[in-house]
Each structure stands twice: as C-alpha cells, then as structure tokens.
Amino acid sequence: MTTFDEKRDAPEARPARRKMSWAWLGVMPFFLFAFIFLLYPSSTIVVRSFIDPNTHAFTFKNILALFGNHYILGAYWISIEISLLTSVGGGVFGFLLAYAAIRGGLPKFMRSALMTFCGVASNFAGVPLAFAFIALLSPTGMLIGWLRELGYNPYFHGFTLYTFWGLSIVYMYFQFPLMVLIIAPAIDGLRREWLEASENLGASSFQYWRYVAFPILLPSIMGTMILLFGNSFGAFATAQALTGGQINLVTIVIGSQISGDVLGNPGLGYALALGMVVIMALAIIGYTLLQRRTERWLR
C-alpha cells in the first residue's frame, strides 16, 4: 500500500479534529492494557534492579553483585552454553533438513509434511515434551532399553537425561523445527539460475557453495540461529518439568526467586531478570539486523 493510499481517508462526515481524537480514543484500550499488564510490570523489574531493597535509594550495587556471585554467573554460563549448543546444533540440522526437503530431490510431498511436522513440534514444548523424553531416554526409557539389549547402557558411560546433555537433546526438539520453518523461505530464494550459471562457468559443487550459496544464506542462517539462541535462553517449563528445578539455569533461578527470595537479596533477583532481558534484546536486535541484510538478496 502506498503512502498516498494511507493518507486518503473515509468521507468527511464530521469535523476533522473531533474525528482524530475519536480514533485515538479507540486505540486507548490497547495502550492502557499494554501499560497495566506488560509495560508497567516489566519496568518494575528494570527500576527495582537499580534500587537498594533496604534504603530504597538508587544504586548500581545489584547489577555489580551479579558479577561477584558465583552461583549466578554459573547459571548464566550454563544457560548460555546450552543455548549456544542447541542453537548451532539445531540451526545446522534444521538447515540440512530444510534443504533436503526443498532442494534435495526428495518426493514433493515431503516438503509440506515436514512443514506441518515442524509447526507442531516447535509448539510442542514444556511439560509434555519433558515427559516424552522421559519415556524415551530415562533409565527405563524405550531407547535406553533397546541400547541395553545391545549391550550398551549410556547411563554407565556418564549420560543422564536430567543434566546438561540430556536437556540439550530435549531442547533440540523445538529448536530444529523452528530453524526449518524460518529458513525455508531463504532456501526457496536461492535461484536455480545461480547454480546453473556457476556450473556453466565450471565451478565445482564446493565452489558454488563457498562463493555463491553460502554467502547469500549466511546472514539468514546466522539471524535464525540468534533467534534460536533466544528461544532456548528463555525456556523454563521444559527444564523445570524435566529436572524438577535441579539444573542451574537462569530461568530456573528466577523461578525460585518468584516463590521465595532464594538469593537472599530481592534486588539481586531483579538484576538477574534484567540481565536476561538485556541478552534477549541483543539477540532480537541481532536477528532483525541480519534479517534486513538477507532481504537484499532474497525477494
């Protein structure tokens, strides 16, 4: 729609001025709702991160205390590690899967089937997901049972479902489908002419990827991986249901801080949450910037 169209208005039945204020009045319920239930509660977190819980004075103490607390630094570190692992792992696998379905020469129906499955899988998270993996990979789970019959029990070799690696495997279940859903349009945007042109110029398959396809797809792959990072960084329900809160993730610490002041310092709890929002905001900004770069080529 052009700017010209936007500016034309419905027939002038009433004086322009009154109509304008009426229209603004119409969007007020939305802003009021957003203020009361989203903006104000969220700003509470920000404001209280900078307030001394005892003296109620402005302070940087809470923020600084984050960096001096080994428990909190550990929580951030594990959250970041698990998010990096599952965003890169889920990103690479999701990309290969999407490419296989779209350009891998597989039967046509595979593509729409994959899209539907991914739509479901990326929405299938939290408590039921945790249980599905308990049924598969717990010591009495189906897959572990099969492996035991083959004479290999991963639980004798350091694997547990309820710690870092186990949780990463579970997170992958909603990570790679999200990658497939978001990266598919970018793969569609790779024109066949580019492959033909590079083949006609004598490029090998490797050279086509190295100098044509990969550089074009890279911003969009990176951007989506950043999105996956945020997706796993903010995850709570899956980890809580799977480990019963026994794993030291930032979200889990915030969860216990809601029920009671486990950190022994309310101000520190707010600063912890603020740190999360900052990391998420950086991730979303990174995604937006890279997405904008992508649109230059694809479309």
Partner: protein, 260 residues
C-alpha cells in the same frame, strides 16, 4: 542435483523423522502399559475419570476461550484503527506486540507477581490477572494474525461502503470487518488456544488450576497417566495446527509459539 547426494539427503530426512517420532512413539507405547502384561487404554480411562484432571483441563479451556475473546475485542479495533485512522501509532503498537518475544515468560511473570501482590494493586489472586497475562503471551501471534488479515482486505473501501449505507462504527467493525477477517482470526485463535493449553509458568506462579501445572505435578506422582496426558496434549497441539493450516490454506506462514 547429482545422484550420490540424494542418499545423503534421505539420510538427513530419516534422522529428522526419527527425532520427531521416537519420543512420541515411546510415550504412546508407555501410555498403553498401565495394565500389567497387556496393552490397554487403562491410563487414558484413569486420566479422564479423574475429577482433578477434568477440573484442571476445563479450567485451561475456559482460560483459553477468555483469552481469545479478550484478544479479539482488544486487538481487532486497534489493528483496524491503526490501518485506517492512526497510522502514527503503528510503530508503538508493533513494538508492544513484539515485547513478549524479548521478555522471557518467566521474567514477565516475575514482574506480574511482584507488581500485583502489594497494595494498592493486590489482584495477584484474581483470574483477571491470569487471563490478562495469557492475552499478553498470545499477543504477538493474535495481533499479527489479525493485522495480516486486515492487510489482505480493502479496509478503506469496506468502511466507506458501510458508512454510505449508514452503518455506525460498531456495526462496521463487527458486521463488516470481523466477518471478512474470520480466517485470520480463527488461525490466531487456535494458536492462542494451543499456547494457553500448554502454558505452564503463568498458572503455576499465579496458583491457578490449569492443565500444564497439573501434568507437571502428576509426573512426580504417577507413571502411566502423565504419558497419556502427554499424548492428549500432543493430539490437541496437532489438531490446533491442523485446523490452522486447513482454514488458512496456501498461506505458509511460520506458526511458532508455545511456552518452552
């Protein structure tokens, strides 16, 4: 594509299919083992006959329906006016509707609980706060679905036609605009439904009956019943997604959400 590559792509696809189905198959088989030695639907019967399940599940359905109604009442007029009359507010509204992506649900609930658990804002125990919270969590999907729907129709001409036939704003909005974007609203509604039914954090910390917290509790208590519930939950997600792709045919939008 060369022949040799095809084997490789099949291999990737098979790994993906296994990753997708194995946990579900394991859960399903496990859910059938409630009776010793035979496969049965005993666990499902136990679940459905349990009043606590019915209570929590019904509660979740009611929360979901309320969330959808509030969402429609709040977002349809806003998106409509933004498109037609106050384009200046678009940036602010889009920023707000994307905020739930930036603020993790757990942090959002943290803020809600702390803000509304002290006078004069003591409504932490009220279902109003729960439904408002769900509405916020589903906002990015619901608002965008409605906005996409409005983009596809000629809002201006429809409004002018309504006006020249003497329709008031209320009937323009609810008799003309709403029916024209029903497909978009339906897909937003079913996505919201799936989100609310699966949502764990809000109900858990606002201490309200709901399906996901009940299921998390049952995981600690029982073996086979949670498996049956996981399958029921999966079937619901599948149904919601299926309906969305049925009503919105040809519109291959990434439908992503849910409380991880």
């Amino acid at each position: 594509m060369r022949r040799g590559n095809k084997v490789w792509w099949w291999f990737i696809m098979i790994i993906g299919i296994l990753y997708f189905f194995l946990p579900l198959v394991a859960t399903f088989i496990f859910s059938l083992k409630a009776k010793l030695g035979v496969l049965s639907f005993q666990a499902y019967t136990n679940v459905i006959n349990n009043p606590a399940f019915v209570y929590n599940f019904t509660a979740s359905v009611i929360w979901a329906l309320l969330t959808i109604v509030v969402g429609i009442l709040l977002f349809v007029p806003t998106a409509y006016l933004i498109r037609l009359r106050v384009p200046k507010a678009r940036a602010a509204v889009e920023f707000i509707t994307l905020l739930p992506f930036v603020i993790p649900a757990i942090v959002f609930v943290f803020g809600l609980v702390r803000t509304f658990s002290q006078p004069p804002l003591l409504i932490v125990d009220s279902p109003v706060l729960l439904v408002a919270g769900y509405t916020v969590l589903s906002m990015p999907y619901m608002y965008r679905a409605i906005d996409t729907g409005l983009r596809a129709i000629d809002v201006r001409t429809l409004t002018e036609a309504g006006q020249s036939l003497g329709a008031g704003w209320g009937s323009i909005l609810f008799d003309i605009i709403l029916p024209n974007i029903r497909v978009a609203i339906l897909s937003g509604a079913f996505l919201s439904f799936a989100i609310v039914i699966g949502e764990f954090i809000l109900a858990q910390y606002l201490v309200k009956p709901a399906f996901a917290p009940y299921m998390a509790y049952m995981i600690q208590q029982k073996a086979y019943e949670p498996a049956a519930m996981a399958i029921i939950s999966f079937a619901l997600t599948w149904a919601a997604m299926g309906i969305i792709s049925l009503v919105g045919r040809g519109n291959e939008q990434a439908q992503v959400g849910g409380g991880h």
